[in-house]
């Protein structure tokens, strides 16, 4: 019996579960705020997988470096995304993604 938390695959499975929950949330929920949070969940899951794989490559910091850049890009994405949510709310008085139908027809 492998010890919990001492095997690489445990982390990868956990990351895939979190990614799946985030993907379902992004598609099922129509509140754009919750959709943005689901995107954050998926980015976090990918970070976890990167760091876990980097753990078995001793002396190589590539995975953790990539996770560092992902965190920087996620911060920029959230800043711009929430600004777009605010502008969208001023335009439509709604935060539901179904109401963003100005380009329809």
């Amino acid at each position: 019996m492998s010890v919990l938390g001492q095997v690489l695959e445990h982390y990868i499975l956990l990351a895939s579960v979190i990614f799946g929950i985030g993907a379902i949330g992004f598609l099922v929920r129509s509140n754009v705020l919750v959709q943005l949070m689901s995107v954050e969940l998926m980015l976090n899951a990918v970070n976890l997988a990167l760091v876990a794989y980097n753990r078995v490559h001793e002396g190589n910091m590539g995975g953790q470096r990539f996770a560092f850049f992902i965190i920087a890009v996620a911060a920029a994405e959230v800043a711009v995304g929430l600004a777009i949510v605010l502008a969208y709310y001023r335009l439509k008085s709604s935060v539901l993604s179904e109401d963003a139908d100005t380009l329809r027809h």
Partner: protein, 201 residues
């Protein structure tokens, strides 16, 4: 059960429960708190994976900045952030989400070894994941992406300000003095005098 296994269990449960709360909660504030639990759990897992620097960055950037920004926007929108109107076509969306999640899980499972106990993690090198090691790696191998990331963050901040400061749409208010006769004391041309309201009766 060793301390590492206990920490893995606690952080894993916090991650999954927080992710489920983020997706399932009706109130976006509860979603943000679920996201906070997930982020804290992942920071703990980073500690287990000998990534101390990333654990600190995760807590500072995600829990300290991103979740706070989410809560700020939720409070700014007020009650409208949690609309009571529910979604139509939830079954189709759920199916699409299930297919996406299943394909992601299948891709991961296909990468994992089917036999054996998997890759056991030996004790990490003392230099693995320290600020020293990551800083050396960033400033030697990845100096150009690092500088580009600074440019990206500045552009994102300026862009966020530019987008969030858009004025509300609606009929544009005209300047009060629209006709030339209003700009001056009398008509510019005598024939314009006809439509001008007479002052003093």
């Amino acid at each position: 059960m060793s301390a590492a296994s206990a920490l893995f269990s606690i952080c894993g449960i916090a991650c999954v429960a927080g992710a489920l709360a983020t997706v399932a909660a009706k109130n976006p504030v509860r979603s943000a708190m679920g996201l906070l639990a997930t982020i804290g759990g992942i920071a703990g897992l980073f500690l287990l994976l000998a990534a101390e620097f990333l654990a600190a960055i995760q807590l500072i950037v995600y829990a300290g900045a991103i979740v706070v920004l989410f809560v700020f926007v939720i409070m700014l929108l007020g009650a409208d952030a949690a609309p009571v109107r529910e979604v139509q076509g939830k079954v189709a969306k759920g199916l699409a989400g299930g297919v996406l999640a299943a394909s992601a899980g299948g891709a991961v499972l296909s990468l994992l070894p089917t036999s054996g106990k998997g890759h056991a993690l030996s004790a990490a090198l003392p230099t693995h994941g320290t600020v020293d090691a990551i800083g050396r790696s960033i400033f030697t191998d990845a100096i150009v992406p690092f500088e580009l990331a600074t440019a990206l963050l500045i552009v994102a901040v300026v862009g966020a300000i530019a987008i969030a400061r858009t004025r509300p749409v609606g009929p544009r208010r005209l300047a009060p003095a629209a006709r030339p006769t209003d700009l001056f004391g009398g008509p510019v041309n005598p024939r314009d005098d006809a439509g001008r309201p007479k002052e003093n009766g």
